[in-house]
């Protein structure tokens, strides 16, 4: 595993020791079954403790892991017949946001999500999941299409934020996100959003106005990055850990503050350890929530969505 997390080091060390014992046992024909079993249980308990008590900063680290499953991997497992649809019909196809259609449990669904790369080359193509205005406009086009064909929309949020560059400003990053907020608030079809990694600021919210908002267990959602906050507050981006502590950016914080509806459980060690596990949890959530939303007439749906937004910070 590349990108070892600091707080996982002792776990990995113990795991390596256990493997050593196993090899010793096999090679020397010494029976250590019960001893190893005890150690494995201990390791498992340690892992549980670590992952149950992750600090906000540790959550930030996990949420940003390059091994973490991205939108396209969840889509593949949840909707194997997914067809990607490209382009905003205006300026460019932005690879930092992907979208398309597929079937889930016998209904057609539109899926849209930020897309990070799995390696440096792909990350350059996908701009590390930081979309330009055309990414948000592609998303909007596909959402309007979903509305027309009465397909529910599922969005996956995973971005450090909307891109801050010349072209993005020139082509109206602010306008593109603002328009998505407004249009998503009145889109006449159910929307369910999942934060699967980083929920970075306006760039995250641009896909995040929904009837249900969920966060995976080890994800974050915030108005600014911890680095950004610490550099503003203390003129020192290095104090990001301290910033994370006061930001209330974890799934648990947001659920407590009633900003999100549900935490989707991850396997021990994070989503990348078992994507099927997470996908099944997402599927179960969709199966539980979609039918009721699809049954609502569009006025009730929109009224409820509005009230949900309306309540935050009332």
């Amino acid at each position: 595993m590349h990108n070892t997390l600091e707080f996982e080091k002792s776990l990995i060390e113990l795991e390596n020791k256990i493997i050593g014992l196993e090899n010793f046992s096999k090679e020397n024909n010494v029976n250590l079954v019960s001893e190893i079993d005890i150690l494995r249980k201990k390791l498992d308990q340690m892992k549980r403790d670590v992952y149950a008590n992750l600090s906000p900063w540790q959550k930030v680290k996990i949420a940003r892991l390059q091994e973490r499953p991205t939108t396209v991997e969840y889509v593949k497992t949840i909707m194997p017949d997914f067809i990607e649809l490209h382009g905003d019909r205006l300026y460019m196809d932005d690879a930092a946001i992907i979208g398309g259609i597929g079937t889930f449990e016998g209904i057609a669904v539109t899926v849209i999500g930020h897309q990070k790369g799995k390696d440096t080359k792909e990350n350059i193509k996908r701009n590390f999941g930081m979309a330009h205005p055309e990414g948000y406009r592609k998303a909007l086009r596909l959402m309007k299409q979903a509305e027309k064909f009465k397909r529910p929309v599922v969005t996956f949020i995973d971005t450090p934020g909307a891109y801050c560059g010349l072209g993005a400003e020139e082509r109206g990053q602010g306008e593109a996100i603002a328009t998505n907020l407004l249009e998503m608030s009145r889109l006449k079809t159910p929307i369910i959003s999942f934060v699967i990694g980083e929920g970075g600021s306006g760039g995250a919210l641009g896909l995040g106005i929904a009837d249900r908002v969920c966060m995976l267990e080890h994800t974050i959602y915030s108005v600014i990055s911890p680095e950004g906050l610490s550099s503003i507050l203390w003129k020192d981006a290095g104090l990001a850990e301290k910033a994370a502590d006061i930001m209330k950016l974890t799934a648990k914080d947001l659920l407590e503050m009633k900003v999100i509806d549900k935490i989707i459980g991850e396997p021990l060690g994070g989503a990348h350890k078992d994507i099927e596990f997470v996908s099944n949890n997402i599927k179960d959530y969709l199966i539980k929530e979609l039918p009721a939303l699809l049954k609502l007439d569009s006025n009730t749906l929109l009224d409820q969505r509005y009230e949900k937004l309306r309540e935050i910070g009332k």
């Binding site: 017949d81 019909r89 460019m92 449990e105 057609a108 039918p291």
Partner: protein, 306 residues
């Protein structure tokens, strides 16, 4: 209703069902191709065609098996509308509409009638589009298929009228519409009437859209001019064949305007996808499957009409 499906706990069953019914066997059902290729004029040998891209001579029979693409470089040869229909729809399922519709030469334009006659003789067709309904792996759709060899697939009143009628038929039958575009643009010989077909077809697609019906546009080589500036670009989903020339203005006109050569790949399907105007590039051999897949997903609708 979706909720009923959910209640019955047929968890994850639909996708398998769908795979079974649809994708797997689709290639086997492909129709035999019987038409000949007429666009490649510079033939030495009637049994061979030359690939414009890599200059290889390909045996026609072999090209047919490759869905009229070059085995060596993947170049997609232009094909006649009827061949296209053969590649796409279930055998025997195509019912043609308005075959008898012919132009009335509204401007009394010099030499136009003669040109029409020649095009008829050359192509065996009466106009630059064939419209009708057919089934793709069992899924019904209205199809409009343009013929790039009938007066360069130009759009006059008949093309506009046939496409408009086909769209109106789709509204009546509540079928999706698929248009295979291949056109040099508006038909100059019909003057302002040909320009107005852009408005007419677009308005018909507006009605189709208001009815919540699906329109898939398939851009093939070449899709230019008035067709690009009307129905070609109005698909809910826009597919394109690899390498297809797609643009509003012709290459020559642009080069004259900007007084420089156009960059490599400009106005090609891949360029348009990059620029956000094409949803996917689909190889001809995969087109039937892709269309079926879209129609299948589409018929599942959302919650309220499933």
């Amino acid at each position: 209703m979706l909720s009923e499906i959910f209640r019955k706990k047929k968890k994850y069953a639909t996708i398998n069902l769908y795979e079974e019914k649809g994708y797997k066997n689709i290639d086997k059902k492909m129709n035999p191709i019987t038409c000949t290729i007429k666009e490649e004029k510079d033939l030495n040998d009637a049994s061979k065609i030359k690939c414009k891209n890599c200059n290889t001579y390909v045996l026609k029979e072999e090209a047919k098996d490759q869905f009229y693409t070059c085995e060596k470089c993947g170049y997609h040869f232009r094909i006649e509308a009827r061949e296209r229909i053969g590649l796409i729809v279930d055998e025997g399922s195509f019912i043609e509409y308005d075959q008898a519709l012919k132009t009335i030469d509204p401007l009394n334009f010099p030499e136009y009638e003669g040109k029409i006659h020649k095009a008829e003789e050359k192509s065996g067709e009466s106009e630059a589009v064939i419209t009708g309904e057919g089934k793709i792996n069992g899924a019904s759709a209205i199809l409009c298929v343009m013929n790039p060899n009938f007066m360069m697939g130009s759009m006059g009143c008949v093309v506009g009228e046939k496409i408009t009628r086909a769209i109106e038929k789709a509204i009546e039958k509540r079928y999706p519409v698929i248009i295979f575009c291949a056109s040099g643009g508006a038909r100059m010989q019909e003057g302002i009437f040909s320009l107005m077909q852009m408005g007419k077809t677009s308005a018909a697609l507006g009605k189709l859209s208001d009815e919540g019906l699906l329109y898939i546009s398939v851009l093939t080589d070449p899709t230019t001019g008035g067709v690009t500036a009307s129905f070609a670009m109005l698909g809910d989903i826009i597919l394109a064949e690899p390498g297809a020339l797609i643009g509003f203005a012709g290459t020559r006109v642009i080069e004259q305007t900007i007084r420089q050569k156009l960059p490599e790949g400009f106005q090609r399907a891949e360029f348009l996808k990059e620029r956000g105007f094409v949803d996917q590039i689909v190889y001809r051999k995969d087109l039937r499957k892709m269309l079926y897949k879209i129609l299948y997903i589409h018929t599942l609708g959302g919650g309220s009409n499933a």
